[in-house]
Symmetry: D2
Subunit: 134 residues, 4 copies
């Protein structure tokens, strides 16, 4: 199973239309098209939709080494509104591949490269649980 | 329009089944039933679903005074897995009702009161935009 | 050795005048008198001084069970300026006494109970290193 | 007055030996030599000392445009211990020069470029208070 296949089992990411488009060691990129269903009361993309997109890329990056890795805590800072019709990209880089508590940064941008949000997260590796990755 | 009616326009919260059940000045409570569609690859509730539930309660609390208030940055820390079939509650309290940058804490618990996650956020009031609240 | 004695070895906390005044299981309280030397360019208490005070209480709370516990990540949100001549108190409560990654909240208040800042932190227990506590 | 001169008034940064070595528009670099006085009970540099170093660079970066800018909330994630005798460098880049709520990232590294900690912060500009900068 590849890491992309593993994350197809993430039903919430599938529900909201977030998908992984690139993966590597300590790296992942995901995207989502902002649609009517992602909007909040102010007609911009809801923070939770952006968070979920970032979290998908983050989870793929920190799990890429094959050890099951859970999120401990994450932070998102909003920079610019994401609007209906925009593709949003989330690029995750595992800054620290620590054996127990890795740290990963994610940048969210739109198609023209404007920064939409930044996301950081610390995670915890379950050393005794290996993912069945290729 | 009540604050609950205003947040019915939050299409993303509606999509994922998060709903406000209580509101007040600087206060809000929301809930969500964890279903198959909220699960991640590890068969527990995806972090983005919990984040969105918390964010709904948070947004209702910080917007309760009638001035449009945007999120600047939010943090979520996961304490315990939320599983399919559990109702999760998010209770938001605006700790600081600042004229420009309020601060709000949200606690997520399950039906028996176990802490699932904590969420904090700083927001920014758009002083010139008033919500049409009752 | 008590936890208070252990933290007397924290030379940085001693340098800035932060001291533990109460300790317990998953709990600690520290205080600091804001003096000229703690001020920033704007003549209010520097954020790093408040952070250090909070961090002392936090470290005492998460280390109170006798297993060496390191900070992974911490967040501080400033609510109100602390001024020269004020005593600031930091009260830390370990919300989650997890075997690996505990979570702790700290509230900073002044003498009259005004909230000055809030601090949260996630930490990591080094299971194989026990502190020599009474 | 230059921004460096302005920050010489930061008595807490002076107390702990943190000093600005480079400044620019939305940019600053600071350094500190880890000495006995910066150590915690575990004989490594206390988190509050690293936080203060980062905060100095951060404050210089977000105040570099001449409008007084206060910190709202900051996050620090520790990656590697800083030890006695090491010079630690904090490099701050204002990622978002927003008119009200800028966002800034700081990386802390040692002399050989190892990442020690990362720091992010959101701040608030007091539009009616201008610093008297050259």
């Amino acid at each position: 199973m590849t890491i992309k296949e593993f994350f197809k089992r993430d039903r919430f990411a599938v529900l909201i239309g977030a998908e992984l488009i690139e993966t590597g060691e300590g790296y992942a990129k995901a995207r989502m098209l902002v649609e009517e269903r992602h909007l909040n009361g102010g007609d911009i993309c809801q923070g939770g939709a952006l968070f979920t997109l970032a979290d998908l890329a983050y989870a793929a990056a920190v799990n890429s080494h094959g050890t099951l890795t859970f999120s401990i805590t994450s932070n998102i800072t909003y920079v610019r509104s994401a609007r209906k019709g925009e593709w949003i990209y989330a690029e995750a880089k595992e800054v620290v591949n620590h054996h127990s508590v890795p740290f990963c940064e994610v940048r969210l941008t739109n198609e023209v490269g404007d920064l939409i949000a930044t996301f950081t997260g610390s995670a915890y590796r379950k050393k005794n649980i290996q993912l069945d990755l290729d």
